[in-house]
């Protein structure tokens, strides 16, 4: 699904990523762990196509959904309006039946139904974080890239998150989770440790 070979990225004289190799196949759950400033977000931005690597090859054979670390949603819009806006970004017609059904599915999955017409600014931090994740799933991607996804989750939401990830993986999709802390490594097919721009062996 995704293959990165010898990815190198520098900013000025500082090498942030140095010959990174990463391979994600179908129905895999992998993680990248590293300290702040290790280069995790830089790598994610290269994978999602926002930045270009200075060297190396990146090939993706699937659609990617990206959930950023910050809650990047429009706070003056409602949940439904955010959905429509991002659907347009993905090139989807929000009013088409199939997209409407998927919207209803996401509403149920994240328990948004009672809030869908409320402005995001009026919602709790956990609900906004869930919306942040839901917006990455609008176009039904095969690979989900999550940058520190559970900041602000309460215990119940954290559990539902892992239930969702398990369900998502079971239908053949993959997840790349980026975090500075992974508590349960057994959940993952592989955990990469990023240190000074390199994966530890």
């Amino acid at each position: 699904m995704l293959k990165a070979e010898n990815i190198k990225k520098s900013f000025g004289k500082k090498t942030v990523l140095n010959r990174i190799n990463l391979d994600i196949g179908p129905a895999q759950l992998k993680a990248i762990v590293g300290e702040n400033g290790a280069g995790k977000s830089t790598l994610v931005k290269i994978i999602v196509g926002y930045w270009k690597a200075d060297e190396g090859k990146l090939s993706t054979k699937c659609s990617i959904g990206y959930c950023p670390q910050q809650t990047l949603v429009f706070k003056q819009l409602t949940i439904e309006e955010n959905y429509r806006y991002f659907a347009a970004a993905y090139g989807l017609q929000p009013d088409e039946r199939i997209n409407q059904e998927h919207f209803n599915y996401l509403m149920k999955l994240f328990k948004f139904e009672q809030y869908k017409n409320q402005k995001v600014i009026q919602l709790s931090g956990g609900t906004i974080q869930k919306l942040n994740l839901a917006l990455a799933l609008i176009h039904q991607p095969n690979l989900l890239i999550l940058d520190e996804p559970y900041n602000g989750f309460d215990w119940e939401t954290y559990h539902s998150f892992w239930e969702f990830i398990s369900l998502y993986k079971d239908i053949g999709n993959s997840v790349l989770l980026v975090s500075h802390l992974i508590t349960d490594k057994s959940l993952f097919d592989r955990v990469y440790q990023l240190n000074n721009g390199k994966f530890d062996a």
């Binding site: 926002y50 990206y66 990047l72 819009l77 970004a89």
Partner: protein, 253 residues
């Protein structure tokens, strides 16, 4: 699809702007407050002044109050438009980056901000032009209305430009207030201009053409076509520069 995306984006941006309570409030309250202030502080005495942009030496004899209304109308539209332009870019920059990752083109997002800015400018210009009728009737109402739109477009695009260059709200607001205050709020005052020593400097500032157009259309029947082109050139330059910088900053690298 591009048209639909632009339509959806413009609609969402307009909703966001209108839902910030301070913005509709500013759009209604500031013009009324400025006009009321002019009404309270000016007299009806006749002041002669020279119109700079007309080739024939044109001296107008206008009451201090009426010339102040026109001058403040241009400045008010300029202030409000530049603030809206700045807000449209600065407040959405991070989420817009995510939209770009998801598939929006930076120019589509800038285009929708511009369309919303245009709607706001037309609203404020209409409101101000109609309010002006309570005090006096401009010789050419259409020309006066267009001059308001031109002031809005020039300063609105200046706001978009400042928003594209500076990330911090404080720097942005300072730069807007600084130029708008010196230019539209002071140097373009026709009474000040008549006695100014170095008129060349005043003539290259952004509010010069809209101010001249407003004065000429409000108090004379001279043609304002040439002034209109000057104004269009100014806002197009600001707009093009804003779009270029925004694109360079926001595009996928």
């Amino acid at each position: 699809m591009r048209k639909i995306r632009l339509y959806i984006s413009s609609g969402m941006v307009l909703r966001m702007i209108l839902r910030k309570r301070i913005i509709p409030l500013l759009l209604i309250v500031i013009p009324s407050a400025f006009f009321y202030m002019v009404y309270l502080t000016t007299s009806e005495r006749i002041m002669p002044f020279e119109v700079a942009s007309i080739a024939d030496k044109l001296i107008l004899q206008v009451s201090e109050r009426n010339s102040s209304f026109v001058f403040f109308a241009v400045a008010t539209v300029g202030f409000l438009s530049s603030y809206i332009g700045l807000s449209l870019i600065q407040e959405m920059v991070d989420v817009n980056k995510r939209l770009i990752i998801c598939g929006y083109h930076p120019i589509e997002l800038m285009g929708s901000s511009f369309l919303v800015l245009l709607v706001v400018i037309i609203f404020v210009s209409t409101y101000i032009s109609l309010s002006m009728l309570l005090f006096f009737t401009p010789v050419s109402f259409a020309g006066f209305f267009i001059s308001m739109v031109m002031s809005g477009l020039t300063y609105g695009c200046y706001g978009l430009l400042i928003g594209s260059v500076f990330k911090g709200e404080l720097e942005g607001i300072l730069l807007i207030v600084l130029l708008a205050n010196i230019d539209a709020g002071w140097l373009q005052n026709p009474l000040f201009y008549s006695g100014a020593q170095n008129k060349m400097i005043i003539q290259v500032l952004p509010a010069y053409y809209p101010s001249q157009m407003a004065i000429v259309s409000a108090f004379s029947s001279y043609s304002t076509t040439k002034i209109l082109f000057g104004s269009i050139a100014y806002f197009c330059s600001f707009g093009a520069l804003a779009a270029t910088i925004y694109y360079q900053k926001m595009k996928k690298k």
